[in-house]
């Protein structure tokens, strides 16, 4: 109230932001004290990233007031926000790949001299990094850095500009558990030095371990603001989801049917000609969910593409039901009963500009009954589409309007509907719940478990340890293109996976 001497660092009142068809923020209140770590908790789609993008000058609010250090402000661009001491580290890093670390950090900064003298600036950045325990080579090009290093560059960018408030958007999504701990230790140091941190997250344990205070968002509104002493896991979960959640239990029995997918010493290149996969060996059986864990970018994408025929394999063999499919065409492999739900749903899995019917025939436009020798029977295709849409509960207004207008959850249902309708013996699923809310996530998970019951072999690539632990019968952990280790499902400890994610277990299983 009025007598409080401590001025809030940031205060947002009644913030409202609309996107076409969505009310992302509905009169949200939010504030940050100096020197605190403030968690902004909410599930996907709750509006937390939107709120922080408004704070960082990325979006403009449709309504509401913002105060920084007691002064009312209105940001017209990120530049204004940075000038007011607010720096955001985005989930998808905003780095120029072919620039050096130094160039990325000084980019857009007014203090940079007209003729850049990169050497002296690099030295300055080195010192800044040492001061905060964020070591990174200032002369390295961004595309040579690991994900953790890139994140350090992002934080340094903001510290270099003297930010009082660091907004971290889902910072642990791309880190191993150990790297995450190190990050939190650093964030606590900043807070101790009087700076503030906003931690955007949907992970309860992060709130419990790091936050001084938490604001919970649900459906674009503020659900609660809690102090450290009021925080309990079950309370947070209820506030975040709006009801009690009883998660799907892993009733893994490891049915151990016959082998469906078998990889032996598979090697493949990345897009840019570097080694992407090295000597990968494992197998997936009928009715088994085989999880692939690991920090994104360690070869998961290449693995999924190698199995589905989209990537050239230069060594080793891949077999499906005992048939050698190494380097066969994607179409032949699909016809042998391999379905694929790729990471890039809209753009690879689905054609954004085409309608529902056209998208549902993507894998069968050459087969009866939809197609003849030359022509496509759109009437049959339409009936088929209606059936699938009903069965998988996809909410659509119009079968002809482009699928790019569907929500993330509906897109995933549509994609799964098509891939499952092919009755696959193996389905490769990559990051299936990324960006989905709790309801949609549970729907996808129960579809996968149902498939397992029916005896489908499932290769599940995931970055979410909870998902891995919840669903998988066996887990392979990838590190730098190799399988660092394979663990049996059932009772996996996150730390165990975490060690493998950093590559410290490679010798054990010995490939």
């Amino acid at each position: 109230m009025g007598e409080s001497i401590k001025v809030k660092l940031v205060e947002m009142r009644g913030i409202t932001k609309r996107f076409p068809g969505v009310l992302a923020n509905d009169s949200v209140d939010f504030s940050v004290e100096p020197g605190e770590i403030h968690a902004l908790l909410g599930e996907n789609g709750s509006g937390k990233s939107t709120l922080m993008s408004i704070l960082a000058g990325q979006y403009r609010p449709d309504g509401g007031v913002m105060l920084v250090k007691g002064k009312e402000i209105s940001f017209r661009s990120p530049r204004d926000a940075i000038k007011s001491g607010i720096g955001m580290v985005h989930q998808h890093f905003k780095l120029v790949d072919n620039f050096t670390v130094t160039e990325n950090i000084i980019l857009g900064d007014d203090r940079t001299p007209f003729f850049c003298r990169l050497d002296s600036l690099s030295a300055k950045i080195s010192r800044l990094g040492e001061e905060y325990g964020l070591t990174v080579d200032p002369g390295a090009r961004i595309d040579q850095l690991s994900v953790g290093e890139k994140q350090r560059v992002e934080i340094l960018k903001m510290l270099y500009r003297g930010s009082d408030l660091l907004v971290m958007d889902e910072p642990t999504a791309v880190l191993t558990p150990q790297e995450s701990e190190e990050l939190f230790a650093n964030l606590k140091k900043f807070a101790a030095a009087g700076r503030s941190v906003v931690l955007i997250t949907h992970k309860l344990n992060e709130v419990l371990s790091a936050a001084d205070r938490v604001t919970v968002l649900r459906g674009g509104r503020t659900a609660a603001v809690l102090g450290r002493e009021e925080i309990t896991e079950s309370k947070l979960a209820r506030l975040m989801v709006g009801r009690d959640i009883d998660p799907v239990k892993n009733d893994s029995k490891d049915f151990a049917g016959e082998t469906v997918l078998e990889l032996q010493g598979v090697g493949a290149m990345k897009d840019v000609g570097r080694q992407g996969l090295r000597n990968i060996t494992f197998s997936v059986k009928r009715g088994q969910i085989f999880g692939i864990a690991g920090v994104a970018g360690n070869g998961q994408k290449e693995l999924a593409e190698a199995v589905t025929g989209l990537r050239w394999v230069h060594s080793g063999r891949i077999r499906i039901n005992d048939k050698d499919i190494t380097n066969l065409s994607p179409r032949v492999i699909a016809d042998l009963g391999v379905s694929f739900v790729p990471e890039d749903r809209l753009g690879m899995g689905l054609v954004p500009g085409l309608g529902i019917v056209d998208n549902l025939i993507l894998k069968r436009y050459r087969k009866a009954p939809v197609a003849g020798r030359y022509l496509i029977d759109y009437k049959k295709a339409g009936q088929e589409a209606e059936r699938l849409v009903k069965e998988f509960d996809v909410k659509v207004a119009d079968f002809r309007s482009p699928v790019s207008l569907l929500s993330g959850g509906n897109l995933q249902r549509l994609l799964l509907a098509r891939e499952i309708s092919e009755n696959p013996s193996l389905i490769v699923v990559v990051y299936p719940v990324r960006g989905l809310d709790v309801g949609a996530t549970e729907a996808v998970h129960s579809i996968l478990l149902e498939l397992r019951r029916k005896g489908t072999a499932i290769l599940l690539v995931s970055e979410d340890l909870e998902e891995i632990i919840k669903l998988c019968d066996r887990v392979g952990v990838m590190y730098e293109g190799e399988i660092a280790g394979i663990l049996p499902g059932g009772d996996i400890r996150p730390e165990e996976i975490g060690l493998l994610m950093m590559g410290s277990g490679i010798s054990r299983e010995g490939a």
């Binding site: 309504g63 690879m348 993507l362």
Partner: protein
Amino acid sequence: MRRLSGFIYFEKRLNTPRASVFIITVLSVFLSLVLGGVFLSVTGHDPIEIYSKMFSGVFGSSFGLSETLVRAIPLMILGLGISVAFRMQLWNIGAEGQIYMGAFAASWVPLTFPHLPTYIMLPAMITAAMLAGGLWALIPAIPRAYLGVNEIITTLMLNYVAILWVEYLVFGPWRDPQGFNFPLSAPFPEAARLGSLGGSRVHGGILFALVIAVIIYIIINRTRWGYEIKVIGESEAAARYAGMDIRRNILLVMLLSGAICGLAGMSEVSGISGRLQHGVSPGYGYTAIIVAWLAKLNPFVIIVAAILFGGLQVGGYMVQSSGISAAVATMLQGAILFFVLGGEVFNRYRIRLGRREAP
């Protein structure tokens, strides 16, 4: 309190009614003509006079009308050819060269075998023209398919080569000895001429255009191949994921696109001039790009749009008598494309203008 937060807002539309697409396109064309009129009057001409001269020149006489159709025929065929490639996001800017190569190949048949009967002569000319146009388009398609070489520049460069090649022929080896040194080939025999309709200059090429429009409509909307073209045009990643052969489709689609454009060359030399001559096309290949885009690649709308642009070109020639360059028609075409492009934004977004007060 009042706060200024910008002056133009875009909001993505979730659906666009067909009627509004039509209205916006018509309005865009109209606005570009208005702006063109303003420009004409600024540069010292009377826009009302020029426009009415263009209009009465085109619609005021059967000659104007038939000339409009005569010019519309190549625009229809080329627009259709271009639309196939554009559908797959292949920017075939080489229609101008392909029409020249088609004209060249079609002329080769009667000039080499002048005594063939009509029922062999015309099909032979059609085949030759389509082959030549298709192969000419295949030249840039191959490096595009295998090396990723941008086809915009290569197709365009080949236009100049094709034009120079035809010029070489009509100034050199194919020049008619009885032609008083004009850059013309010898005239074709009667068997190599497309019949004209009711004594006008409108010739059988118009039937080519209509047949091709129907065929393209069926290919795109009913066949497996058309489905592949649509998917590849929308997203190459999805096409690869579905196991489509993108390289093969690049080659095939460019071949088809070029073959159709080549046919336009045949219809010009056989239907109009009856000989190969300098300046087969006064830039039809470029105008047809506008036609195809304006029609949103719909084959039947292309037919209509081609007639409009044929009229615009005839109008341009009609005002030459008042000492104005026929280039005024080209300028208006460019302006129309600008406005139609700009107008599309209203189909994709709702636009809010002006200052907005935040509460």
